[in-house]
C-alpha cells in the first residue's frame, strides 16, 4: 500500500514537467504576449521592446522555461506579468473559494443523484425511473451559464433570496453557484448510480439474500449500494477533480473569485507564469485527489485492499 502510494506520488513529477512544458509552448505559440496586454494603446516600438526586456520575454523559450523550472524546484511559481503579484500567493487566495464551490457542488450533486439513481434502478422501467432519467437528462443538457442566469433571475432578482454573485454573504453566496455547478454533475452521477445499481441488483447473491427473507430496504442499502459504490466513487472523484480545476462558466456568471476564472483571465492576458503556476498547482491537487480516490476503493472493496497490499509487498 505504501509503495503504491509512493509510486503514485513520484509519478506526479513527470506529469508536472509535461504539463508545464505544454503550457509554456502553447502560451508561446499563441498570438501576442503579455506586452500586448500591458502596453498602452499608443506605446511606441521602443516602449514595447523595453517592456519585453523587463518581463524577460526577449529571451528564448527554452531559457525562460529552464529558469521557470529552476524556480519551481525551489517552490517558486514566479510572479505575474500583469499584477506583479506572487503566483503562489494569488493561487492560494483563490483556492479556498474553489474548494468551497467544488465541495458544495459535489454535495448537491451526490446528495441528489445517489437517491435518484437508486430510486431509478429499484423501480426500473417505471414512471419514477423515467422521471428521474428525464431530470438527469435535463441537468446534462442545460448549459451551466444558462442555469446560472435562470437561478439569478428567479431566485436572486425575483425572490431576493440569494445574492446574485460575489462572495460577501457567506453560505448564501454559495447556494446558487453550487446548484449551477452541481446540476451537470448530478446528471452524470445519477446515470452512473442507476446503471451500477442495475448491474448489482441482478446479481445472484442479492437473489439469495431476498430468498433468505432479507427485506428489500436492507438488500438495497446494505448489500447492493455498497457494491455499486466503486463506479460512483470513480465518477464523483473525477467530477470533483474537474471542479477543483475551476468551473469557469459558473465562476464567471456568479463573479466567483475561483481558480478557473484566474486561469482564464490569465490566458487572455497572456500571463504565462500565472497560467503555468495555476495549472501546475491544479495538476498536483487533482493527482492527489485521484490517488485518494484510488485509495478509497481499497476502503470500500476488501479485494482491492488485498491487491494493493500484494503490490506493496
Amino acid at each position: 500500500m505504501y509503495r503504491y502510494t509512493l509510486k503514485r506520488l513520484l509519478m506526479i513529477i513527470p506529469v508536472i514537467i509535461g504539463v508545464s512544458l505544454i503550457i509554456f509552448v502553447a502560451m508561446d505559440l499563441a498570438p501576442g504576449n503579455a506586452v500586448d496586454y500591458l502596453a498602452p494603446e499608443d506605446a511606441t516600438e521602443e516602449d514595447l521592446k523595453l517592456l519585453e526586456q523587463q518581463l524577460g520575454l526577449d529571451q528564448p523559450l527554452l531559457i525562460r522555461y529552464v529558469k521557470y523550472m529552476g524556480g519551481l524546484v525551489q517552490g517558486d511559481l514566479g510572479v505575474s506579468y500583469i499584477s506583479n503579484q506572487d503566483v503562489m500567493g494569488t493561487y492560494m487566495d483563490r483556492l479556498p473559494n474553489t474548494i468551497a464551490l467544488a465541495a458544495a457542488s459535489i454535495v448537491v450533486a451526490v446528495g441528489l443523484s445517489i437517491p435518484l439513481g437508486i430510486i431509478s434502478a429499484v423501480h426500473n422501467g417505471s414512471i419514477r425511473d423515467n422521471l428521474a432519467m428525464v431530470f438527469a437528462l435535463l441537468g446534462l443538457s442545460m448549459p451551466n451559464f444558462w442555469v446560472g442566469l435562470l437561478l439569478i433571475i428567479y431566485l436572486s432578482n425575483g425572490l431576493g433570496w440569494f445574492p446574485s454573485g460575489g462572495f460577501n454573504d457567506g453560505l448564501l453566496s454559495l447556494v446558487l453557484p453550487a446548484i449551477t455547478a452541481g446540476t451537470g454533475f448530478m446528471a452524470v452521477i445519477t446515470r452512473t448510480t442507476r446503471s451500477s445499481m442495475l448491474d448489482v441488483l441482478n446479481q445472484d447473491y442479492l437473489r439469495t439474500a431476498r430468498a433468505k427473507g432479507v427485506n428489500e430496504k436492507t438488500v438495497v442499502k446494505k448489500h447492493a449500494l455498497k457494491n455499486a459504490l466503486i463506479p460512483i466513487i470513480t465518477i464523483s472523484g473525477t467530477q470533483l477533480g474537474a471542479l477543483l480545476g475551476g468551473s469557469v462558466l459558473t465562476e464567471t456568471v456568479f463573479s466567483w473569485p475561483g481558480v478557473g476564472r484566474l486561469i482564464i483571465d490569465s490566458v487572455n492576458s497572456r500571463d504565462t507564469p500565472m497560467v503555468t503556476g495555476s495549472i501546475i498547482m491544479t495538476t498536483i491537487i487533482i493527482s492527489l485527489l485521484l490517488l485518494a480516490v484510488d485509495l478509497l476503493y481499497a476502503v470500500v472493496d476488501p479485494r482491492l485492499r488485498s491487491r494493493y497490499g500484494a503490490k506493496g509487498r
Partner: protein, 518 residues
C-alpha cells in the same frame, strides 16, 4: 414513496408559481428585499450618505501601482488613490491644481510647479519636490510612461516644494499630458522601502485597503487629504463582475450602486426601473477600418475610396452597437482640439463605389483578409456582406485582443477593424497618423501630415492649431488610409440618489466625490 414524490411535485409547483409571479411583475421584484446591501451611515459632513459605495466593473484593474495601471479600470482605481501634479476638468477643459497648487510657464519649454504644502501621502510622509523627482525618474524606465517622461530634459527641485521641469522640445500640450493617472506622484520613501507595493501608496483622496486581482478593490477615505471635507463616501468597493446580465441584476438587487458598461441590449431594464437611473455619454472611442497601406491592395487609393463608399455606417451601428452610436467622418475624438468633419468625404454610394472599383483596376472584384477582435465579429460580418455588393470577398480572421495587437504589429493583414480611444491631447491622433508611430495601424505616411503635426505641437494659438488639424483631417478624408465608422456610446446605470461622479478623458470615471444620498 408515492407520498414523497407527490410532495416533491407540489414543492416544484409552488416554487414555479412563485417565480412565475415574480417574473410577471419585474418592477416590484426589483425593489424587493435585497441581500448583501451595505448598511447606511451618516457622513461627518452632515448629510446622510451611504457609507460604502459599490461599483460594478465590467473589466478588471491590473494593479493599483499608478505607473503600471495602463488599462481604463486600472486608471479608475489609481485615480482614486493617487494624484497627478495637475487635474483636468473635462467639463470646462481647464487645467486645475492637483499636487501642484499652481504652476507657470517660465520659458518656451520650461514649467515651474509649486506643490501644495502640508499635503501628505497615505504613509504619513509629506509630499515634497523630491517625491516628484523620484516619481518621474522611476517612470522614465517604465514602458507605459517612458515616452512622455522621456520628453523631459531636466527636472530639478528649486526648493522643498517647487519643481522646475524643462522639456527637450517645445510641447504646448505637455501639462495636459501629465494629468493622466500614470503620472501621479508617488512616495519616494514608500517605493524604496517596499519596491513591490510602494507604488500603491498615493496622496489621493482614498487609501487602498485591499486589491484582489480579478475580484475586487476596497479603499477608505484619506482623512488627511487636502479636500477631505468634500469627500462624502467613507469607503469604496470596486467589484469585477464580468458577466453583463449578472452585473445588471446586481444593480437591480442594489448589491451594487453603479453598474458600468451594461450591455446595450439590456439598458432598457435600467431605463424602465424607477429605482434606477440610466446615463449615457458619447464615448471617445472611435471604431474604424484601416488599410495596410504598405500592402499591394492597401496602397491602391481608388480601392480604399471604393470601400469607403460601400460601407453603410448606419447598418453597422444598428447591428454592432444596437443602434447606440454616431456615424464618424473623421478618426478624431469629438471634443478634442481640432475636431473637424465639415468635409464631404466618401459617404455610402454603391454606384460610386463600383466606379471606383473599376478605376482601381478591380472591376471583377477581389478577395482580401480582414483581421478583427472576436468582440467585433458581428460588425465585421456586416461589412463582409456590404463589400460583397461591390465584388470584394472578405476573409475574416478573428482573434483575441492580445493576438490582434501582435498581428497588427506584424503588418500581416490588408484590412483591420479596430477601435481607439484618445486622451486629452492631440498626441493620440498624432500617433495614429504620423509616419512610423506606434498607433499607425495603416502604416500610413504623408510628409504634409507629419509636418502639420510637428508644427501644431509648437504653437499656442488655438485657432492656428485648429486650422492645421483641419487640414490633416481633410487630407485623410481624401486619401482614406482609415475609414472612420462610428463613435461608441458609454452607458452606466446607478441607483437613485447617486451623484458626484466626474468623467475624465480616455473613458476614465472619477468616483472620489461621488455619493449616494439616503
Amino acid at each position: 414513496m408515492k407520498k414523497g414524490i407527490a410532495m416533491l411535485l407540489c414543492l416544484l409547483m409552488i416554487t414555479g408559481s412563485l417565480t412565475a409571479c415574480s417574473s410577471s411583475e419585474p418592477k416590484e421584484t426589483t425593489q424587493a428585499a435585497t441581500v448583501g446591501a451595505e448598511t447606511t451611515g451618516t457622513a461627518e459632513t452632515g448629510g446622510a450618505y451611504k457609507d460604502t459605495l459599490i461599483v460594478g466593473m465590467s473589466a478588471a484593474p491590473q494593479t493599483a501601482d499608478a505607473q503600471a495601471a495602463t488599462n481604463v479600470p486600472g486608471k479608475i482605481i489609481t485615480k482614486m488613490i493617487h494624484m497627478s501634479l495637475i487635474f483636468l476638468n473635462t467639463e470646462t477643459g481647464e487645467l486645475q491644481p492637483g499636487v501642484a497648487e499652481s504652476w507657470e510657464q517660465t520659458g518656451e519649454a520650461t514649467y515651474v510647479f509649486h506643490l501644495r504644502q502640508g499635503m501628505k501621502f497615505h504613509n504619513g510622509e509629506d509630499v515634497k519636490a523630491s517625491d516628484v523627482l523620484y516619481t518621474f525618474a522611476r517612470g522614465a524606465d517604465n514602458a507605459g510612461t517612458k515616452s512622455v517622461l522621456g520628453q523631459i530634459s531636466e527636472l530639478k527641485a528649486l526648493d522643498e516644494y517647487t519643481v522646475e521641469l524643462s522639456l527637450k522640445e517645445v510641447d504646448v500640450d505637455y501639462p495636459t499630458k501629465i494629468v493622466d493617472p500614470l503620472y501621479s506622484i508617488l512616495s519616494e520613501k514608500a517605493c524604496t522601502e517596499d519596491p513591490e507595493n510602494g507604488g500603491t501608496i498615493g496622496c489621493g483622496p482614498y487609501v487602498l485597503d485591499d486589491f484582489v486581482l480579478n475580484d475586487y478593490v476596497t479603499m477608505h477615505k484619506f482623512e488627511e487629504y487636502w479636500d477631505a471635507e468634500n469627500l462624502k463616501t467613507n469607503q469604496f468597493r470596486f467589484r469585477y463582475i464580468p458577466e453583463n446580465s449578472a452585473r445588471l441584476i446586481a444593480l437591480q438587487n442594489k448589491e451594487i450602486d453603479v453598474c458600468m458598461n451594461p450591455a446595450t441590449v439590456e439598458v432598457s431594464y435600467i431605463a424602465d426601473d424607477p429605482s434606477l437611473v440610466l446615463n449615457q455619454m458619447n464615448s471617445s472611442r472611435v471604431f474604424y477600418l484601416s488599410f495596410n497601406t504598405g500592402s499591394e491592395i492597401g496602397q491602391n487609393q481608388a480601392l480604399r475610396q471604393a470601400v469607403a463608399c460601400a460601407v453603410n455606417k448606419e447598418d453597422i451601428i444598428t447591428v454592432a452597437a444596437e443602434g447606440a452610436g454616431a456615424p464618424a467622418k473623421t478618426l478624431w475624438s469629438q471634443g478634442l482640439l481640432g475636431f473637424y468633419d465639415g468635409f464631404e468625404g466618401f459617404s455610402y454610394d454603391l454606384e460610386k463605389a463600383k466606379a471606383l472599383m473599376a478605376e482601381a483596376g478591380y472591376a471583377d472584384g477581389l478577395t482580401m483578409e480582414i483581421a478583427c477582435d472576436s468582440a467585433n465579429i458581428s460588425a465585421v460580418e456586416v461589412i463582409q456582406s456590404q463589400l460583397r455588393e461591390i465584388g470584394i470577398e472578405l476573409t475574416i480572421n478573428e482573434m483575441d485582443s492580445a493576438g490582434l495587437t501582435s498581428y497588427i504589429g506584424q503588418k500581416s493583414t490588408t484590412l483591420l477593424y479596430n477601435a481607439r480611444s484618445y486622451g486629452a491631447t492631440v498626441e493620440g491622433p498624432r500617433k495614429v497618423f504620423v509616419t512610423g508611430l506606434a498607433s499607425n495601424d495603416a502604416f500610413y505616411s504623408n510628409p504634409r501630415v507629419d509636418e502639420l503635426f510637428a508644427a501644431g505641437g509648437l504653437i499656442t494659438d488655438v485657432a492656428e492649431r485648429e486650422a492645421m488639424y483641419k487640414e490633416v483631417q481633410e487630407i485623410l478624408a481624401e486619401e482614406v488610409p482609415y475609414i472612420p465608422l462610428y463613435y461608441g456610446v458609454t452607458y452606466w446605470g446607478n441607483v437613485q440618489g447617486f451623484d458626484g461622479m466626474m468623467t475624465q478623458s480616455g473613458g476614465i470615471f472619477f468616483y472620489a466625490y461621488s455619493y449616494v444620498t439616503e
